[in-house]
Symmetry: D2
Subunit: 361 residues, 4 copies
């Protein structure tokens, strides 16, 4: 099988590097193009990231000699790839335009950026949760007049720890209608250089700009439906999020209290639902799909970020401490790897889904 040629724009930043790391041995995709800011353009990728390759694995050989393109120059990508993974870091309006322009030029754009998350005909995907949302693509193409182009985005890293477990319960007919969530988020979520060490030694920072709004609003679209080629949000859930930065390298933890409207499941039933949860990515055996999307921990003090973030290629969500809540119905702790499941890995899984569904060829 010929691999599908993919490009990474914003390839020199931390998310871009994670894309390259995760795509290095991908069975379906082959990175044939990288682009970044004009400052890096024209240099080899090895030169462009000299002294700022942040991954613990060494820079894979295959990328060293790729010539970095200018991410703003769409023509330079033409003919080199059919998929664009976007990790660009520009202001919101610039990203919006740029990603639309790539799609208009025929590329399948899969983005980690927040700019288009609330665009009405752009799916925001957690493949295990709302894979059906990819079926907006025909309407999207029609609306914009695109042929092969498409645009799909990934939600914020902060919510991956609890949206899948909540979805598993919804799918069984249990209506979660309120959630209060406190996240303890890893520093890699802020990129590099990111959070100063002066703020993270013997300290936590109880604030991450924009993060609480994303954590509260994005799930409503993910849980939403498509009507007339547009997303309709599910406003039956109220979510309140407290987001904290803590001295952890990778892995976002969430302490979740949740309540149900109508019938609620028993504790044991919840555990069983989570243990047995599978979705389309597992059925399709997508390369980046975890075999078990939700891993239940039964120890009193798990999940913990350093010990559980890497489970199943760092794509599984670990949950634990399920117990009754004194105010709502239940409480639990969820954990997921923010730069893999919550960023580049999640986006690659989305692209795999788009391939499997025939939208990327």
């Amino acid at each position: 099988m010929n691999k599908i040629k993919v490009g990474v724009i914003g390839a020199t930043g931390m998310v871009g590097q994670n894309y390259l790391r995760l795509l290095a041995d991908h069975p379906w995709f082959e990175v044939t193009y990288v682009a970044a800011s004009p400052r890096s353009a024209g240099r080899t990728y090895e030169e462009a990231v000299a002294g700022r390759w942040l991954m613990t694995d060494p820079l894979p050989e295959q990328y060293k000699d790729l010539i970095v393109g200018d991410a703003g120059d769409i023509d330079s990508a033409k003919g080199k790839c059919t998929v664009i993974f976007s990790a660009v870091s520009l202001d919101k309006e610039q990203v919006k335009e740029l990603e639309l322009a790539y799609a208009a030029a025929g590329f399948a754009v899969v983005s980690n950026n927040s700019a288009h998350r609330h665009t009405e005909n752009v799916p925001m995907l957690i493949p295990e949760v709302n894979h059906a949302h990819v079926d907006i693509i025909p309407a999207q193409r029609e609306f914009y007049g695109w042929d092969t182009g498409l645009l799909a985005v990934k939600p914020n890293c902060s919510l991956q720890s609890y949206v899948t477990p909540i979805h598993a319960l919804r799918e069984k007919g249990y209506q979660v209608d309120r959630m209060i969530i406190t996240t303890l988020q890893a520093i890699s979520g802020a990129g590099y250089p990111g959070v100063p060490s002066y703020d993270m030694l013997d300290n936590i920072v109880p604030y991450i700009g924009g993060e609480e709004e994303k954590s509260e609003e994005e799930p409503l679209k993910i849980f939403g439906t498509i009507e007339d080629g547009k997303f309709v949000y599910d406003n039956s859930i109220q979510i309140s999020a407290h987001c904290n930065r803590v001295p952890v390298i990778d892995g976002h933890t969430a302490c979740v209290s949740l309540g149900f409207k109508g019938e609620k499941p028993e504790l044991d039933e919840i555990l069983e639902i989570w243990e047995n949860f599978k979705s389309l990515p597992q059925e399709l055996d997508l390369p980046s799909a975890p075999r078990q999307p939700i891993i239940v921990r039964y120890e009193a003090d798990r999940p913990q970020p350093r010990r559980d973030r890497d489970m199943d290629k760092a794509m599984a969500v670990s949950v634990g401490r399920l117990r009754e809540c004194k105010v709502f119905d239940y409480r639990f702790v969820g954990l997921s790897h923010n730069t893999v499941r919550g960023a580049a890995g999640g986006a690659i899984l989305m692209a795999e889904l788009l391939v499997a569904k025939g939208y990327i060829k």
Copy 2:
């Protein structure tokens, strides 16, 4: 004025050391007795803590030559002091008996231990909140047949960050009836050696044994009333706590969502109530009382443990990020110093209150 002679039992552990550090220059109290386990008894205090003095200030000269008594031998304290600060670390039943025995022997016992927190005629005090609870002492003395003896205890360190702010609102007539709280607690709360560094580097632990129950139940007694010489809990509030251990030396942070029954105050009014809150310890100008019990921070990212824990002798509670909650009414972040306000400092303030009210002479 002659200082009141006080003893510290459990004097060699971390809480005991904090008592000694904070009492070193106290205007009312003078440490004339220290006791610990039989293993330490008979040695000078300097010998007993050689290699395990954990405070950053050096061991005060005045304690070096005190001969350590056996905390289990009440006779050895007699004649040496009238107040006993208890920081003993034994099993719950042993502590219960021991503290009662000290009180029966005529000592005013002020304890940091959890054993008697729910004893029906023992006050559990945050002096700014429920100072009126000390007036159970006459009934306590009558019940046990004590003359000068008394027993008063301090609540858990985890709840100091939010109980005072909530109290300030209750005092103005606003009925908080539900709270969901997530704490990010410092390692010093676990004593020494306490939490292994292997669990606290690049990690958090989403569990602290017994801490959630304490955080949920103790406020109900603190907010309660005295009837017939016993405490009646205020069950009108429902509290759910998620307690986490994080890599911070000192200072417990709490992310709080709260709801009101009946009328609720405006945001501005809450800030004004907190800014202006004073209580009896401030009116009496007790030596360990912070001038302003609640300090409001207006920066987006405060309070933070390393930056705010030491405010006003580490006895003030810092609050910030007051904002609306998407599920309840409001949200805020509270912070207090767990080993000072939440342990030894809080207990010393209690003892000062007991002196001011005439129960310790």
Copy 3:
């Protein structure tokens, strides 16, 4: 090929767990026996480590149902395995006796413990450095009257970062005769619970009991020779070590100043020697041997523990910052993974060497 049956004694501690983790998919060895203290004996391995499995990978399925033996009872190992990996944690004399007793019973004992490191006919091996020392085994067997039994030990984890680079220079004829070394050692070297977090947040501890002596004395045996069936130490090198504990999970860093007697190599030559260094484990293609034992980093600020410790299965030594020394001849920074290269991984490589040389069958 039938795999060689191996046992791990001290299997429940951190080093023992590392052995099991690294042996889980070993092409030559199969763990068929585990033993620990009498407290664990009789339980399944899964029960014995419940709540204290410290590895980030989950407990491999194959170990869960192994019944834990009593490490002190040699008979219980008989017939179950031919190699014993020792990670026991007892007092020195007990370990000495126990390891000799296993060897006397016919087992090939490969130990991580320090007890026999200076026993005159026991080889202390870094396979890339002194593989020739295994040839003391016939003399050892003759001396003790052992048939199939043997005893070989691993040196301390602190010296792995610099002994191999120094050896590579010695091998080319350059006589290093003085070294002053400061190590910055990871907390995993202290086992679990090990170093309290109270000592490791916002702090370093400039002392590790016994570590400086080991770092100074063990290289002299490793660089020594065999005469009359005994090791003669190489006393031509003087080593001074300063050992510090720092808040790093895994990976010991060493800052090394070194001087030569007689001719000294140029900077470029040293780099070339290191880049090209290979030894017997590489020639024999032993399963745990790194392809390149010494990896040279050319960035100004490398090696760094989190970024470089895992290179080549965590078995390679990373070196960098080679430059002239103002007092001796040169300076460099060395780094190696203390629980893999410096403990269980190094011991497994030793066992592979003993197999390849025919001493284990």
Copy 4:
């Protein structure tokens, strides 16, 4: 006594903030002027540091309404103060010019910047070590044609932990002629935002740009002499430094091996020399002078940064672990607070010395 009016230029950065914090209650000095970059000029100091006041103590009231001047505009300081504490952060040549211009304008300039450290007639002072170097001021004034102006600078923070202990030995006639030093330096030395947390969690960085050269060269001037109005360096000592960044907030630790030429003291004598060391700042009872400049720790594992950095107003050097060296004569560990003793506090002590010696009036 009327206080001497002082200004702080570079007042909004971390070092500038430390100056202000330490000068808030100074008995001799009163801050009457602050200046920073043109961007901050014209605003109140409170506005200028809003959201970036990094000290744990709150911003002292007295500074809030000071109008920030433009540090590049010397005229704006005129008439407002007679001493300028320089914490400017510009390129080296700009700093050189600016500091000379302030001195030419009549200000006594006391600088923390490295630009003039090797200017031949500018003293680089550790007041306990080379207080006699202030007597170059008359020659300096004559050379530049300054009347009341003067320029004195502070050495780098990395060397404060060992230069005073070595000086104490030199003063007794013992000639240290070689030192190999490894420093473990705190992150506050890099200012704010400084070192990314991504580099400092579960990691150390074995490199700090320019730091090793400073650590090796600056002591030679400090130990030097004045001849013909210029400093002559003491080249009889060879120093080699390995500088590392470690996850510690404040406090630089140094592991030191040292050798003597000629007679060497006994271990006990060294300890006695250190214990009894006093110098001119102590004799003059300067306000910022520690009572005991060198504090000897006898515990096996001290000094440690978090526990010892704050000794005696954070102005004392703590030493410990004195023992023989296997290669040189002795080894020890030294520690000092980098932002107090090693920066603002050291500079204030210099200014006090200049007052006491009559050079600042």
